[in-house]
Subunit: 566 residues, 2 copies
């Protein structure tokens, strides 16, 4: 516990780092009971266990710390418990399912923390749906007690919502009337797009503090099933077994333990993982991430991959990259540019990737692949200027080459550089670039890149497996710029300086629009439309000002609103 | 000219009304040359002709006044000049096409004015594309000179962009580097989704102050054609004639004059049109719009409709409703709730509507129909709580019934009310509710409403032409609530009071999310994702604060930015 943020409009510096690494032995807020194909996840928030000082986590409300544990629960379920086919999400408290995000925390948090907290919780909610879609682990909400705001948004992210009909239990989105903010963790979007609630009923629902109970909740499509209270427990387990029976998840498999992730953070902010280093140039506002390709040969077969488990290069790197992104997002907010480099053996990267691509039907290989998909999506959604520097000696092949298409722009070294005897900068495309790692818009990064010239995707595909030096990569449209030694240093420096001189807010808005061309999905709508409006409201005096609703919450005095419509 | 806004974060009151009505005799900034099937629209902004004091409209920059005239140009082209098949948009100045929105105006404008100004300009840009799609009037931009920011956004909204290759003329979106805001009038969205510019090139383009000239502009997909300077004029006219030749717009037709729109505004803010009245309850924050159904019989055939011209009830009402919405949006910002009522003869409404529905191939009937589509979209996009009150004696049939599906919720009178001898409240659906008036998401309002229960659209369709009293309308899901005389007054009053008590900002965000379920289109993305991020930035100190870029523009001192990323 440590000092927390101060002025919501000004922001403040955290005095301690937020650590996204956890494991069940350290959970304060969750417990999981495993019973063969059915797991039950209990939300039982420790009131005193908040991540920061200044508020208590009453009524199963959550802060970032609670969500970090939940993300770990979902992640471990995928890797450590492949036998799980249905997951029941429920409360460990008597009278409340979950009251949503902690309001005092929100009221006190800096704007940047609020926004990044919401982004992480959104990403975590998405993992429920991903678990069903990708791994046939169906999440079920079993709601007894009040399920309000972020609590109902938790339920909305599960595949099936069950509500007991005890005359008291309800679902509600009271943010608008109570707090003058939106149900911004996917709530509004899932109401309209996932549950397809009629819009006028959605309007009524989102204007009610008290929420909706019983049969009406089902009629309004807010829940999937309302169950007589006396039969609730047995019906929930019945449904869980039904979903489990329908799952194609393999049986007789042994999970892979996600062993502790080691990292070392230096005083200057640099971070060393085993396959990734992050160095920080605080004056320039630049973080440089160097990915190290595998040094050892790829596992010779799927059995060996299983044997390596969490030590396998491809899984370990994914975990390290994921952790680094989250660390930079929440703890290094003034680092506005992230530059990606790599170093290593292109053939080895392809060989390691090939083990998971050619064994996709194996549950573990599949999980690693899906995890990389999530990590790359996390990168897409990272609100920093992203650049890739394809230097000599780099190893951007296959899934590492996806980083070139995730970043805002890329620079590649062309021809020999005097005194640089590393292998010539080369990019290699693989099957990994043409399907398995779609973006939130459900297109591959290359499809999104070449929306206007779809034949370019085919041209690139025809070159899969070919070593592409700068001229070829540039010709194929795979990199933004290729520079030889005469221009390289200046061009890269000028870009980085220029970027650092721009307004970080304009960058955020520009990236949120340029990165997601093409179709919208529920996911892109949550991170685009809904989040943007919520962020806007999080800046408005009616919400965060001194007499705004978030500040006044709990004082018994309602927010005092300027009446002007925008 | 009159006193203007003051503090961009606080807002201020306009001392004079903005009038959206204009006609060519009053234009200060535009002129149009008609030459058979080709019209040329010259943007030639009068520096001294700004809508407010405090800034000059240099370099063909625009403010709301310039855009009001442009909207009128496009509208009149559709009705008064059906012979026009291709429209060339060009500058009346020597060295500049258009420098975009006036920065001093933006820097000084209240947040609410900025947002509503951008919305109107976005709607006006959309009418270019609508003219091509609906009426085969193709818009061509002929760019000579600098075409920057909102200037390039103007061009982006046309169907075909031509750039002269004179070594100086360029297209640019310099908002981010220069002003710390976004190209928010559709710019970013049209770059990614209409022109499908590769995302890294888009990133480079949107980071450049100087823009892109010549062949590179074509290579990057920023323009459709780059023309040798000496051949520019003749090539532009050649293209215009080509597009005109391909148009299916009828020949030998006579336009319909859009005669001046009469209205009377009282001291209390109420507005009287011929078929519409608006009354204002300033204390309650409610505007009530009462639509009057036609008193006269419908035109007996299409010839009679032509003869009636702008006097036809169905066109006149559309114009009045359009004007009323714009007036309320910009001049009555504290009126947070708009309540729609109607009174009149249901049969007559259907008969009048039927003239345009059954004569859609007639250009004039078609234009009226398309205009109603735009007016209803304008209503969808109006950032006020919208409610319909279906009282006895009302005439919500066909296109007027669309209003019931555009509003956030609707209340309908059920059974007899003592002392009320008007005909029982009845709703009638027509073909008009099942296709001709799609929303921005390209679905009909009923399809959007019943996204979760598509069979309900069919059920409603089966009842087309049937008089539906409250019980039936409620059963079909066409209204939110039906109340009899015991409950009506209380329920409506409670709703209106409750709505007035909510934060207007939360309402804005909620409506922006709940109203547009289902697919996203370029249009919905512009008003959702792009606008929301722009509005957020328009609240950030890095843009609008004392040392923000918008405030410092023109002082020679760059914006001083807080470096924290959000």
């Amino acid at each position: 516990m440590h000092a927390y943020v101060s002025d919501p409009l000004e922001g403040a510096t955290l005095t301690e780092r937020i650590d996204f690494r956890t494991d069940p032995s350290r959970y304060k807020h969750w417990r999981v009971e495993y019973d063969g194909p059915v797991a039950t996840v209990f939300m039982d928030v420790d009131e005193q266990g908040s991540l920061f000082d200044g508020y208590e986590l009453k009524l199963n409300s959550y802060d970032l710390g609670v969500d970090i544990e939940l993300a770990d629960v979902v992640q471990r379920m995928r890797f450590e418990h492949p036998e799980v086919r249905a997951v029941v999400l429920r409360s460990g408290k008597e009278r409340v399912f979950c009251a949503g995000a902690n309001i005092r925390m929100l009221g006190g948090a800096a704007h940047s923390h609020k926004v990044n907290f919401c982004k992480f919780t959104n990403e975590t909610r998405n993992t429920f749906e991903a678990a069903g879609r990708e791994s046939d682990q169906t999440w079920i909400s079993a709601i007894r007690g009040a399920c309000a705001g972020g609590g109902y948004e938790l339920a909305l992210a599960t595949d099936y919502i069950m509500l007991t009909d005890d005359g008291a239990s309800s679902v509600a989105l009271p943010e608008v009337p109570l707090l003058a903010v939106l149900p911004g963790t996917g709530g509004l979007t899932r109401v309209t797009d996932k549950r397809k609630v009629r819009r006028d009923l959605a309007d009524v629902f989102c204007s009610m503090e008290e929420g909706v109970r019983g049969k009406k909740a089902k009629e309004w499509r807010l829940v999937d099933e309302v169950v007589q209270n006396s039969k609730f427990e047995e019906t929930v387990m019945e449904r869980a077994r039904e979903f489990a029976a329908r799952s194609k998840r393999p049986t007789d498999v042994k999970g892979i333990a996600l062993t502790p992730l080691e990292r070392k953070i230096e005083d200057d902010g640099s971070v060393a993982y085993s396959h990734l280093t992050v160095s920080i140039d605080r004056d320039a506002g630049i973080g440089t991430l160097v990915i190290k390709g595998p040094e050892v040969d790829a596992p010779s077969n799927i059995e060996e991959l299983h044997k390596q488990g969490a030590e396998a290069w491809i899984l370990k790197l994914a975990r390290e990259l994921d952790d680094a992104i989250l660390h930079l997002r929440l703890n290094e907010m003034e680092i506005g540019v992230l530059a990606f480099k790599s170093e290593g053996d292109l053939d080895k990267v392809q060989a390691h990737e090939n083990v998971i691509l050619s064994n996709r039907d194996d549950w573990f290989a599949g999980e690693i692949l899906h995890y990389w998909k999530r990590v790359l999506k996390r990168l897409d959604l990272t609100s920093r200027s992203l650049v890739a520097l394809v230097e000599h000696g780099s190893c951007f092949a296959g899934l590492l080459a996806e980083i070139l298409f995730a970043v805002d722009r890329s620079y590649m070294m062309e021809d020999e550089f005097e005194g640089d005897d590393r292998p010539t900068a080369t990019v290699v495309l693989t099957d990994g670039n043409f399907g398995p790692f779609p973006m939130s818009n459900d297109l591959t990064r290359l499809e999104t890149r070449f929306l206007g010239e779809p034949q370019k995707v085919e041209e690139a595909k025809a070159k899969a497996g070919v070593s592409l030096e700068a001229a070829d990569a540039n010709e194929l449209g795979l990199v933004t710029f290729a520079f030889d030694e005469v221009d390289w240093e200046d061009e890269v420096r000028i870009f980085l300086e220029e970027r650092a001189s721009f307004s970080p807010d304009a960058m955020t808005g520009m990236e949120a629009n340029l990165r997601f061309a093409g179709p919208e999905t529920m996911e892109t709508r949550i991170f685009g439309r809904l989040t943007a409006w919520q962020n806007w409201i999080f800046q408005r005096p009616n919400a965060v000002g001194e007499s705004g609703a978030l500040q006044r919450y709990g004082t018994g005095v309602r927010g005092d609103y300027a009446k002007e419509r925008v």
